[in-house]
């Protein structure tokens, strides 16, 4: 009974977050920056933030996560961090030799009011930025937004700093994958490839945060969107952005800056959202959907038909980020499951409306909160129990206390592997999600069935 301190009775809280379903902006910015090839993320603030962000990403990916910090001290906090950042830029290019330094701020440097572009210009004027190397930045005060906004901001910074158009269109499409796992990014690229569409993906953390054991430690692994690719995005035929919160801003910026038209879609989780993605790709690129992809869809369909009786009426509680939750909820509803408690720590304008719309047909009361925390989610569950939890590792406290099976999904996952290798996006990702959901619920059924109704075949 770890969370024995969670009372059933729900009282309005005014000044307090308990057991957050979110974390701060810089970690999202750091994650996005790792999706640029040969890029060292840089945290402009005190050491602690950077250490925490790296540790959390390291625990989630089980990969080395590199990032530098301006190492603020009292002096810097009073007089500003200009000297620190200039020195940092110099040191980083001298010793680590990345192609790009991606600076994000922290609460501290934001409150002091450091002007990053101005400092970068100073560093440039002093010759601290070697030719052909770049310093990009995003402002990420954590007292606004969450890790999702940080990710979105850094993705947009890639457009602001790199995208160029020289008037000649290239036969390629941009894909902005959203705040998803490296495995998901790989899967999206694969789908595009199967369809014969040439794509540039950014950010792209595949082969950065899911790389193989090589016996070597590479500070800059071979994955990631290259600077050249990023620059070329301004000449692409169109942009497809997945996840409105995480990718929308970058897609719109690219449209404004280089007149690359964009389609902003939900994350392709489950049938409907994946259909929309594939269909958009088909239409924009003017191609046909190949049989192999239709077959994948058919396989997903097959699982659903074979097992549909086990989905019906399963009550689910979800916590996570808005983009993921919208598509996931849609998927669950489409197979007759009942997502009834849904929280995200991230404030999102249309979130509640979208969820309400999607869950309209669910014959049960649905609770939605944006922003909400896991404490509230737990209270809802106490008042109206569920059969399944879907969310990040922190949900395991609730799972244990209430004895409800948990499918790990989202960020961070600190206690299992798989998320960096096996996708949950696309039709195949959908199959994996269903496998996980069925494993969890059927294992539970096996455990709890009385002897007489314990079944061999299910």
């Amino acid at each position: 009974m770890l969370l024995r301190h969670t009372p059933k009775e729900i009282k309005q809280r005014k000044a307090l977050t308990i057991n957050p379903a979110k974390t701060c902006q810089p970690i999202g910015a750091m994650y996005a920056a790792l999706g640029i090839h040969s890029c060292l993320p840089h945290s402009h603030g005190s050491q602690g933030c950077c250490a925490y962000h790296r540790s959390t990403l390291t625990r989630h990916y089980k990969e080395p996560v590199m990032a530098a910090t301006s190492s603020f001290t009292e002096g810097a906090s009073v007089f500003g961090g200009q000297a620190n950042l200039v020195q940092a830029i110099d040191n980083i290019f001298t010793i680590y030799e990345p192609e790009v330094i991606a600076v994000h701020t922290t609460c501290l440097s934001e409150t002091i009011g450091d002007d990053i572009p101005q400092i970068a210009r100073k560093a440039e004027a002093e010759g601290k930025i070697p030719r052909g190397k770049y310093v990009i930045h995003v402002n990420t005060p954590s007292y606004v937004g969450t890790h999702v906004t940080g990710f979105s901001g850094m993705t947009k910074a890639m457009v602001d700093y790199f995208s160029k158009s020289n008037g000649k269109k290239l036969d390629q499409f941009n894909i902005i994958p959203g705040y998803v796992e490296p495995s998901d990014m790989e899967e999206i690229k694969r789908i595009a490839e199967v369809m014969g569409v040439r794509t540039v993906m950014f950010p792209d953390t595949s082969r950065v945060l899911n790389r193989p054991q090589t016996g070597k430690y590479d500070m800059f692994p071979k994955g990631g969107a290259t600077v050249q690719a990023l620059m070329s995005t301004g000449d692409s035929l169109a942009t497809i952005a997945l996840g409105r919160m995480a990718s929308g801003a970058a897609a719109r910026a690219l449209d404004t800056k280089c007149k690359v038209p964009c389609e902003i879609l939900d994350l392709p989780i489950g049938f409907k959202a994946t259909d929309r993605f594939v269909d958009t790709l088909r239409k924009t690129a003017g191609i046909n959907v190949p049989d192999s992809l239709s077959e994948e869809r058919g396989q997903l369909m097959d699982i659903v038909t074979d097992m549909h009786q086990y989905f019906y009426g399963t009550k689910v509680a979800l916590a996570g980020d808005p983009d993921q939750l919208i598509s996931l909820t849609e998927f669950l509803v489409s197979i007759d499951m009942w997502p009834i408690h849904i929280v995200t720590g991230t404030v999102s304008k249309d979130f509640a409306t979208r969820i309400r719309e999607i869950t309209k047909g669910v014959p049960h009361q649905v609770n939605v909160s944006t922003p909400g925390d896991m404490f509230l989610l737990h209270q809802w569950i106490k008042n109206d129990p569920v059969d399944l939890l879907i969310g990040n590792t922190y949900m395991k406290y609730i799972a244990r206390d209430e004895d409800i099976p948990l499918v790990r999904f989202g960020f961070p996952i600190l206690d299992r592997i798989g998320h960096s290798y096996f996708p949950t996006l696309g039709y195949r990702g959908g199959m994996r999600l269903l496998e996980k959901i069925l494993d969890a619920t059927l294992d539970r059924k096996d455990r709890d069935s009385p002897e007489e109704s314990f079944e061999l075949v299910m």
Binding site: P64, V65, T214, Y217
Partner: protein, 472 residues
């Protein structure tokens, strides 16, 4: 391959045997370095958080609280309030207009809801900048609610983890001296600097109990507010780990005249010596205590040694690298590896002092690299240069070791087995053995490379490798 070191960092790395010992440390990290260090807040949080029946409220933006939500497995035998994450989750308007009102409200709500024995309020960087008067808010709530509400001045930029330890000590010191000490035995002590990871403090308490000593307060593993309030009634402070609670011991000595001794519960030699030195303190009050202690050590060792022997046999000659938070831990590790027949070729820490490094210099072998506040590039270069078999470090070091194809042991937050005490030495040996001798390294390209290179120069036979990896 070249070993890259920032030129500014040259004097924070020393190779024993090259020149007379000299080491610069206690320095602020270089801007732009991928430092493995953390902040003041982290230091305070780590020290105080195991106090299980206190409320721990992080006053700041959400991240600082999210990242420290139950990250360290500090076990509690009772309440578990410390495992929840409470944050004032500061928003833009709070940053502009100040967060005092929000803090007050949060405290009142939490205290009403949980009725904790005390509350700790951690300040983070931003609070230091916006200038909230933590002290005043805490005082007000303390008066209204009738429990101690203690501000922890842990703004991250005010130094590294060590400054955070100090802030934590000052916070605890405000509790000490407020409890009733009338029935405490003269044969009593406080355990300082143990956080009950994997239940370690229970092992140590058991030893002291067998020696006939009463443990008044655990500081802070499985800690309780009321015990800490009575801590000034103990006859001795037993302090483990150089940084974290030494300041508290010093303050208690000054204020209450309680003597302290430094100990380490890690490794056979240090564990035994720690018990003996505690016994020596009480010898005049209890002449039998030394005999009981000897008997205890003997009993434990009789059990331990035969079991260690088989690990030692396989591990002899293997090479280890150590990079830990505090240097004191490194001393014990060096000795423990020696007991296993292994050689330490690299040793470093995030926050060691000059004195610490000098001591390391004394106890290590020729050629050992000693390093302060290192970074991943340096570390990985050293690991390869020295061709180590195991790396002991924390979260951020683990994947580096694994990428290189080197065994790893977490001697920090993520340890899963108790490593303290005599039984801890056995656990440690088993853990080292299981990673160093793991057959998975046979599949690792680095080892393949090395093997083929060696095979080319020497004979075709590798009896060492073949023999070790076949048994588990």
């Amino acid at each position: 391959m070249t070993t890259s070191i920032f030129s500014e960092r040259k004097d924070q790395v020393h190779r024993k045997g090259e020149q007379p010992f000299q080491m610069a440390c206690d320095r602020e990290s270089l801007a732009g370095a991928v430092s493995q260090r953390a902040c003041v807040f982290c230091g305070s949080r780590v020290v105080l958080y195991p106090i299980a029946d206190a409320l721990h409220l992080v006053h700041g933006p959400i991240g600082c609280a999210s990242y420290t939500w139950d990250i360290r497995g500090a076990l509690s035998s009772g309440p578990a309030l410390h495992r929840l994450s409470f944050s004032t989750d500061l928003q833009e308007k709070d940053v502009i207009f100040g967060g005092e009102a929000k803090l007050y409200q949060a405290l009142v709500e939490l205290i009403d809801r949980y009725e904790p024995k005390a509350a700790f309020v951690y300040s983070t960087c931003i609070v230091g900048i916006i200038g909230d008067d933590l002290e005043a808010v805490c005082k007000r709530v303390a008066e209204e609610k009738g429990i101690p509400v203690i501000p922890v001045q842990s703004e991250g930029f005010k130094g590294n983890k060590r400054a955070g330890y100090n802030a934590a000590c000052r916070a605890m010191f405000r509790l000490i001296g407020t409890g009733d000490i009338s029935n405490i035995s003269p044969l009593s002590l406080n355990i300082l600097g143990d956080f009950n990871l994997a239940g370690e403090i229970w092992i140590i308490r058991n030893y002291f109990e067998r020696m006939g000593l009463e443990t008044v307060a655990n500081i802070t593993g499985d800690g309780r507010v009321d015990d800490i309030r009575r801590a000034h009634g103990a006859a001795l402070n037993v302090v483990q780990c150089s940084g974290s609670t030494m300041d508290l011991a010093k303050m208690m000595k000054e204020e209450y005249g309680i003597p302290f001794i430094r100990v380490s519960y890690f490794g056979v030699e240090d564990m035994a010596e720690s018990l003996y030195s505690v016994a020596r303190v009480f010898e005049d009050k209890d002449p039998e205590i030394m005999n009981r202690t000897r008997a205890l050590v003997k009993e434990e060792l009789q059990e331990l040694y035969p079991q260690l022997a088989k690990y030692r046999e396989s591990l002899t000659g293997k090479k280890a690298a150590i990079y830990v938070g505090g240097a004191f831990k490194a001393f014990s590790l060096v000795k423990a590896f020696r007991l296993l027949g292994m050689q330490v070729v690299l040793v470093g820490s995030q926050t060691g002092t000059e004195e610490d490094y000098r001591e390391l210099y004394e106890i290590t072998d020729e050629g050992t690299i000693i390093v302060d506040d290192s970074n991943p590039l340096e570390l990985s270069a050293f690991l390869q240069e020295k061709d180590v078999d195991i790396f002991v470090g924390g979260v951020k070091e683990r994947p580096i070791a694994y990428k290189l194809g080197v065994g790893f042991c977490d001697h920090n937050h993520e340890r899963k087995e108790a490593l303290e005490g005599f039984i801890g030495m056995l656990n440690f040996a088993r853990e080292v053995y299981s990673t160093v001798m793991s057959p998975v390294w046979r599949f690792v390209p680095r080892r393949e490379l090395k093997k083929s290179r060696r095979a080319a120069t020497e004979s075709k036979f590798e009896p060492g490798i073949a023999a070790c990896s076949s048994q588990a």
